[in-house]
C-alpha cells in the first residue's frame, strides 16, 4: 500500500554554521501520488530524497535539522534515525553502485534483497518473474548484473528495491543519462507504479515529469519556489525560466496558439490539462 | 569492549566496500608498480590504508584475507604468513590511533618500527616452515648470511632486518601521501577520520 508523506517546517544543514541545504519545507503528499522535485543542481533535491529515505541522520552525524516528518503513521522529529527500507526505497542517481557485485546473475541479485529481509527467494520466484516482466528485463535474468548497459543497470537496480514492495519509492534523477528508448521505458514504469506506491522523483528537465507526474515541486537554494499540479506548473513556466530548461515548452505553447489541429497542439494541451 | 563489538564499530557503512577495495589493492598494487617498472611491491599498502582510515581490527582482517587470497591466486606459501599481516594491521592501526599518521617524521619512524616487528614475526615462520626459502630475490641474502656462519633463524632475521624496514617505510610514506590528499568529505565517513591530519576543503 502507498503511504502519505508530510513535511512541516523542515530545515536541514549538513553541518552547524553552514548554509542550509533545505529551509522551511512544507508539503503534504497524498498516498499514491507521483511527485516530481525539480530544480537546478545543488537546489536540495537529492538532500530531500535522502532525508525521506532515512540516510541523513546516520551518514551525516554532524548535521542539524528541525521540523516534523510524517510517513504514514510514523512521526519523526526531525528525521528518522535509520534507513526506512523496505517501507521507503531510494534508488540512487548512480545505479551502478546499487548492484552489489556479489551475485553473478540478475535473478540472484534480486533474490539478495529478499534474503536480507529474511524472506525465502524460492517461495517468491513468481513475483520475481512478474517484476522482471514488468520492468522489461526478463531476458537479463541470467546475465551478469555488473556487465549491463546504463538503462539495463538502472532497471535491475530498481528491481532490487521494488521486489521488497516498498510503500514509498524515491528515485534520484532517474532520467539523467538515459537515451530516448530507455526514457520511454522509464515513463511506462513510473506510470505502472502509480497507485501501488507513492513515488517521488527528482529531475533537472521537465519532459519526463510532464508525462508522468501529478504533483510538481520546484526547489531553489533549499526553498520551495513552486508547488502545484500540472496545470498550475505550466502556467508558472515563464517565471521558472531561470531554474529549469523550459524554453522549448514555452515556445511550443506560444507557437501552438495559432494552429488549430496540429498533433503538437493537442499533446501540449493535454499535458497542460486543458480541453 | 568485546572484539566483535569493536569490529562492528569500525566497519559501519562505507567501510565494508572500502576494506574489500583495500584487500584487492594489496593483491593488484604490484600490477601498477611493475607497469611503471618501480622496484617496490606494496603488498601491504591496502592493509596500511585500512588501518589508518578504518581501524586495527579491520586492518588485521584485511591483512589475513589478503594472504589467503594471494595463496588461492598462485602464491601458495602466502597463507602461512597471514599472522605477519595480522600483526602489521594491528600495529599500524595502533600507531594511527595514537596520531602517528599526522606528521611525516612519525610516519617514517612508525614504518621503521613496523619493519623490525614484521622481520621478527616472519623470521620464525620462514625459518621453521621454509628453512628461509621464500621463493624471492631475498633468498640470496639469507643464503649469504648462512654461508658466513649464521643459523637459519639468524640469517632469516638479518635478511628481514635488511629489507623489511625500508619496504615498510616506503609503504607508510606512500599511504601517508595518499591519505593527506583525500578530501574530508570522504574521510569523514570512516571511523579513522580523526587519525589523519585535518585539512579544510
Amino acid at each position: 500500500m502507498a503511504l502519505p508523506i508530510t513535511l512541516e517546517r523542515v530545515s536541514y544543514r549538513y553541518a552547524p554554521n553552514t548554509t542550509p541545504a533545505l529551509s522551511d519545507i512544507n508539503m503534504v503528499l497524498q498516498s499514491g501520488t507521483c511527485c516530481v522535485i525539480l530544480g537546478p543542481t545543488g537546489s536540495g533535491k537529492s538532500t530531500l530524497l535522502h532525508l525521506l529515505a532515512g540516510v541523513l541522520a546516520k551518514h551525516y552525524p554532524e548535521s542539524v535539522g528541525e521540523g516534523v516528518l510524517t510517513i504514514g503513521e510514523h512521526r519523526y522529529t526531525p528525521f528518522p534515525e535509520g534507513i526506512l527500507f523496505p517501507t521507503v526505497a531510494l534508488a540512487l542517481q548512480d545505479h551502478y553502485v546499487q548492484i552489489s557485485g556479489i551475485r553473478d546473475t540478475t535473478r540472484k541479485e534480486i533474490e539478495l534483497t529478499l534474503e536480507t529481509l529474511g524472506r525465502d527467494p524460492l517461495r517468491e520466484r513468481a513475483s520475481i518473474d512478474r517484476l522482471l516482466q514488468q520492468l522489461g528485463i526478463a531476458h537479463l535474468a541470467e546475465r551478469k548484473p555488473t556487465a549491463l548497459s546504463g538503462g539495463e543497470t538502472q532497471r535491475v537496480a530498481l528491481a532490487t528495491i521494488l521486489i521488497a514492495n516498498p510503500e514509498i519509492v524515491l528515485l534520484d534523477e532517474p532520467a539523467t543519462a538515459l537515451d530516448y528508448g530507455a526514457q520511454s521505458r522509464l515513463k511506462l514504469l513510473l506510470q505502472s507504479l502509480r497507485g501501488t506506491s507513492s513515488v517521488v522523483f527528482t529531475d533537472t528537465r521537465i519532459d519526463l515529469p510532464l508525462d508522468v507526474a501529478d504533483r510538481f515541486i520546484v526547489l531553489h537554494a533549499g526553498r520551495i519556489q513552486f508547488d502545484g499540479n500540472r496545470r498550475g506548473f505550466l502556467e508558472q513556466l515563464p517565471d521558472l525560466g531561470d531554474l529549469l530548461p523550459v524554453q522549448d515548452w514555452q515556445e511550443a505553447i506560444h507557437e501552438v496558439k495559432g494552429r488549430q489541429d496540429s498533433p503538437l497542439r493537442q499533446r501540449i494541451l493535454r499535458a497542460a490539462g486543458l480541453p | 569492549m568485546k572484539l566483535s563489538e569493536q569490529f562492528t564499530k569500525e566497519t559501519s557503512g562505507a567501510a565494508i566496500p572500502f576494506i574489500a577495495f583495500c584487500i584487492a589493492l594489496n593483491l593488484t598494487a604490484g600490477q601498477i608498480t611493475s607497469a611503471l617498472k618501480i622496484p617496490i611491491y606494496l603488498d601491504s599498502i591496502g592493509t596500511v590504508l585500512t588501518a589508518v582510515l578504518v581501524g586495527p581490527l579491520a586492518a588485521a582482517t584485511a591483512g589475513a584475507f589478503s594472504n589467503l587470497l594471494a595463496s588461492a591466486m598462485g602464491s601458495p606459501t602466502m597463507a602461512f604468513f597471514a599472522p605477519v599481516s595480522i600483526v602489521i594491521g594491528l600495529f599500524t592501526g595502533f600507531l594511527a590511533q595514537r596520531g602517528w599518521f599526522k606528521r611525516w617524521y612519525t610516519v617514517v619512524l612508525g614504518g621503521a618500527l613496523q619493519g623490525v616487528i614484521a622481520a621478527i614475526c616472519s623470521a620464525p615462520i620462514s625459518a621453521y616452515l621454509f628453512s628461509g626459502v621464500m621463493m624471492a630475490g631475498t633468498d640470496f641474502l639469507v643464503l649469504y648470511f648462512r654461508s658466513v656462519g649464521n643459523s637459519i633463524m639468524e640469517s632469516v632475521f638479518y635478511q628481514g632486518l635488511a629489507s623489511d624496514p625500508v619496504d615498510k617505510i616506503i609503504t607508510y610514506l606512500i599511504a601517508f601521501i595518499l591519505i593527506r590528499n583525500l578530501p574530508q568529505r570522504l574521510t569523514g565517513k570512516f571511523a579513522g577520520a580523526s587519525n589523519i591530519p585535518s585539512r579544510s576543503v
Binding site: 555488473t146 | 566496500p17 572500502f18 577495495f21 582482517t61 598462485g74 626459502v133 643464503l143
Partner: protein
C-alpha cells in the same frame, strides 16, 4: 548445495604436518601423490581452465626452484663431503641434503595448498566459511573483494591510459615514473573511496547492515564432520604427537 570442504582442508593439514616431520624420501612420494590426485579424484579436479594453467605453471616453477634451492645450498653451505664440482662450483653433501629436504618440504606445502585452491572456486570457499559461522559483514566484504579484484585491473588500466594521455611521464626516468605512480594511485584511491561510500549507502538502502537485518536463510546449518575428515584429522594429530614424543624422548 554447499559442498563439504572439511575433508579437503583436513587433507591439506595432514600433508602440511607430514611436510614438517617426514624425511625427503617420503615427501617425494607424497608430492607424486598430490600431482596424481587431480587426475584421479573428481574432488580435486581443477575448478576452471585457469586453475589448471595456474597449477601446471606452478609445478614447472617448482621444478626450476627446487633445482636452484638444492644447488645453491650445496654450494654455499659447505658441510659434509665435497660431492662434485660442476663448472668450478664445488657442491657439498650436507648442503645438498639440506637443500633437498627444504625443497621437498616447500614443494609439498605449496602443492597441497594449491591443490585445495585450484579445485575449489573462491566463492565456494566463502560460502563454506559463511556456513561455519563467519559473520555476515565479513562474508559481504569478501564477496565485494572478488568484485573489486574483477574490476580493479581494468580501472587501473583506464587511469593509466588517462594519465598517459594527459602527459604523465609513465615511461620517463625513475623519479618521473614515481611521480606518475602517485598520479595513478591517487585517483584510484579517491574514486574507490567515493564508490565505497556510495556502495555503503546503496547496500544499506537495500536493507544490508541494518541492526534488524536477519541472517541469510539460504544456507542449511553445517552437518557433523564426515568420517574421512575425522580420519584425516586423527592421522594429523597422531603424527604430531608421535614426532613430539620422538623429539622429547629420543
Amino acid at each position: 548445495m554447499v559442498p563439504d570442504l572439511r575433508p579437503k582442508l583436513a587433507f591439506v593439514l595432514l600433508l602440511s604436518v607430514c611436510a614438517f616431520v617426514l624425511s625427503w624420501q617420503v615427501l617425494t612420494l607424497l608430492i607424486a601423490l598430490v600431482l596424481l590426485l587431480p587426475f584421479v579424484l573428481p574432488t580435486y579436479h581443477p575448478a576452471s581452465p585457469r586453475a589448471r594453467r595456474l597449477f601446471l605453471r606452478f609445478v614447472l616453477f617448482s621444478v626450476a626452484l627446487s633445482g636452484a634451492i638444492i644447488t645453491l645450498n650445496g654450494w654455499m653451505i659447505q658441510s659434509g663431503e665435497p660431492v662434485d664440482t660442476i663448472l668450478g662450483i664445488t657442491l657439498y653433501s650436507g648442503g645438498l641434503l639440506f637443500g633437498i629436504q627444504t625443497a621437498s618440504r616447500l614443494v609439498l606445502l605449496s602443492f597441497s595448498v594449491l591443490l585445495f585452491f585450484t579445485s575449489t572456486p573462491i566463492p565456494v570457499c566463502i560460502n563454506a566459511l559463511q556456513q561455519s559461522g563467519l559473520s555476515r559483514t565479513v562474508v559481504l566484504m569478501l564477496l565485494l573483494t572478488l568484485h573489486f579484484l574483477d574490476t580493479l585491473p581494468e580501472r587501473i588500466d583506464r587511469i593509466f591510459v588517462a594519465q598517459e594521455a594527459r602527459g604523465a611521464p609513465v615511461r620517463a626516468g625513475f623519479v618521473s615514473r614515481t611521480k606518475a605512480f602517485f598520479s595513478i594511485l591517487s585517483p584510484l584511491l579517491l574514486s574507490s573511496m567515493a564508490e565505497s561510500v556510495d556502495r555503503g549507502v546503496a547496500l544499506e538502502l537495500r536493507g544490508f547492515l541494518l541492526e534488524t537485518a536477519p541472517s541469510f536463510h539460504t544456507l542449511p546449518p553445517a552437518k557433523p564432520p564426515s568420517p574421512v575428515t575425522v580420519l584425516l584429522l586423527t592421522a594429523s594429530v597422531l603424527i604430531v604427537v608421535f614426532s613430539l614424543a620422538r623429539w622429547l624422548f629420543p
